[in-house]
Amino acid sequence: MAGINATRLVKEYPGGVRGVDEVDVEIIDGEFFALLGPSGCGKTTLLRSIAGLEAISSGQLIIGDRDVTDAEPGARGVAMVFQDYALFPHMDVADNIAYPLRIKRVKRDERRATAERVGDGLSLQGLIERRPGQLSGGQQQRVALARAVATRPDVLLLDEPLSNLDARLRLEARTFLKELQRDLGVTTVFVTHDQAEALALADRIAVMKAGKLQQIGTPREVFQRPNNTFVAGFIGSNPMNLVPATVSAGSIAIGDGVSTALPPGTEDHVREGQAVVWGVRPEYLRWTTTEEPGAIAAEVSVVENLGASVLIAVNVDGHKLQVVVPEDHEPAPGDRGFVVPTGSKTLLFDAESTERIG
């Protein structure tokens, strides 16, 4: 068991692309840690740098109490599940699971026994003699996991382990993965571009963009207090409404004559006339047809059904806002009414630096 500590880690590809740019991150022993970000932001690169499959350009990487910046991949105590699972097609499931042991020169009987024990633990009974090509996607994923944990690694790295599964199986595998990680207590770094997956599974999340870390925090922290507009827009099943505005007379002016109160705690950090971005999640806006204090006049343009709720897009003085409305109360396109923000849940960002204010 071991924690991971990266200091000013840089991975520069030939040609000058920085896949990972000055990343500082400390992952605690036994933690389930998610690397989250859009495609091409460097998640895989960071994971592979930790594994040693990419040579680190500069910076330092410590796993446990060892400096492994220049260590061979095999000497870092890490195991990895690849996105394509990388199961050897010419070996049966048992040989696949026991392959790491074969390299460590464990005897055949013992390897077999370990493969069966680990396989049983991951519900692979009866499949142990099949070839990977004869397994379903979910089964392949479990074989890959079994192979990774068979050697009891200090660190488990997972590169989008669920993305090859269909939607329903993914939910099952998610629960399964969480249980497995809790049982083993192994430090796990898990790459995903699905924010819901990260929120559901991780103890802490690191959000990345263009090789740089944007924020590290618990799912609650990144959801409730995103560091900047990028994280705010990326986290959440419906993206946060981000409305350009200016600070005017102790409130936020959104276009002509429409204004709303400053979020709590920001009063002392803004100056009159500052260009800001007002952020509010669709879940924290309420649709009403009667005017009340703090209400903003709006006109419905699109109505989308989400099942138990409805997502409506409204027009507020030229800005488009999304609002989640409980079912049975949905308006029709063209209706006029008001949206009321839950004041304590709104956020304010500086327009220039995009950082959160307050």
Partner: protein, 287 residues
């Protein structure tokens, strides 16, 4: 309405007749071409058992005499053994070096790599070809390797390797890198990875290369003819050239029997290797 249907039907009938005729004609042409190609093979099977074989195809006057005479020839059987030795020797060199080189070529980024490969491929056809026989002879002579198998093996393997590297590199390119990376993470070194992962997956390709090399060497006349002197070192392809009657005519009785014997090992190797390894390819599972 009915008029149009009738026209449509007539046109349809017309095209189907024409289609049918075209197919018959096509079949006839193919049969004739096929027969033309089959004739030499029929000769190969029938002539050895004929008491008086000629270059034309004829129903044999059945006898095993030709084989009896062949077995009395002191060099005949030994030359088949020599051919096997050269074939298998070249095959081992080519498969081992080819696999290593192709793996390296496939995995390491060398500037101008594809250019190097194409260049080698072009040059290789010269090495074992007629054009380079004089310089080849001179090099082998100055190396003191004339009339040795070492010399023949070097020239043959050198001529075949580029093509083999080219083919195998393609094979290795199609093996996902994640297989090796995953083995590396468990502590496997390059040779271990080659043995446990790359070779087993590339096995059909290697089997193909092995057979192809043996067939190439088996049929190669020029290189051993030029580089070997002693009759007892000569492979079958060269020996066949020495079968003359006293009157200086090609001895068709010996040649036909020997030709049949000559083609047997290659066929056997093909079937054995095909059964054991099969020309299948595992490939990636999902990517």
């Amino acid at each position: 309405m009915t008029a149009t249907t009738a026209t449509v039907r007539k046109v349809a009938a017309n095209t189907s007749v024409r289609h049918y005729l075209a197919r018959v004609a096509f079949g006839l042409v193919l049969t004739i071409v096929g027969l033309l190609f089959a004739l030499p093979l029929v000769w190969l099977v029938l002539a050895p058992f004929d008491a008086t074989p000629s270059l034309s195809l004829q129903w044999p006057d059945w006898t095993l005499d030709n084989f009896a005479r062949l077995f009395q020839n002191p060099y005949a059987m030994r030359s088949i053994g020599n051919s096997l030795l050269l074939g298998i020797g070249t095959m081992i060199i080519v498969v081992v070096l080819g696999a290593l080189a192709a793996y390296a070529m496939s995995r390491i980024r060398i500037p101008g790599r594809d250019g190097i490969l194409y260049g080698l491929l072009l040059l290789s056809s010269i090495v074992t070809g007629t054009a380079a026989m004089v310089p080849t002879f001179q090099i082998i002579t100055s190396l003191g390797l004339i009339n040795t198998y070492t010399g023949v093996l070097l020239v043959l393997a050198g001529g075949i390797l580029p093509t083999v590297i080219f083919i195998l590199k393609d094979f290795m390119d199609s093996i996902p890198k994640s297989y090796e990376e995953s083995a590396r993470l468990y502590g496997a070194g390059p040779f271990r990875i080659l043995r446990d992962v790359v070779v087993p997956i590339a096995r059909p390709g290697l089997a193909f290369i092995a057979i192809w090399t043996i067939v190439q060497v088996w049929g190669n006349f020029l290189v051993p003819f030029i580089l070997l002197r002693s009759p007892d070192l000569q492979p079958a392809a060269v020996l066949m050239y020495t079968f003359y009657t006293e009157s200086g005519q090609a001895d068709l009785r010996l040649i036909s029997a020997f030709a049949l014997l000559f083609s047997a090992p290659v066929l056997i190797i093909y079937f054995v290797v095909n059964r054991r390894y099969g020309f299948r390819f595992h490939g990636g599972i999902k990517s």
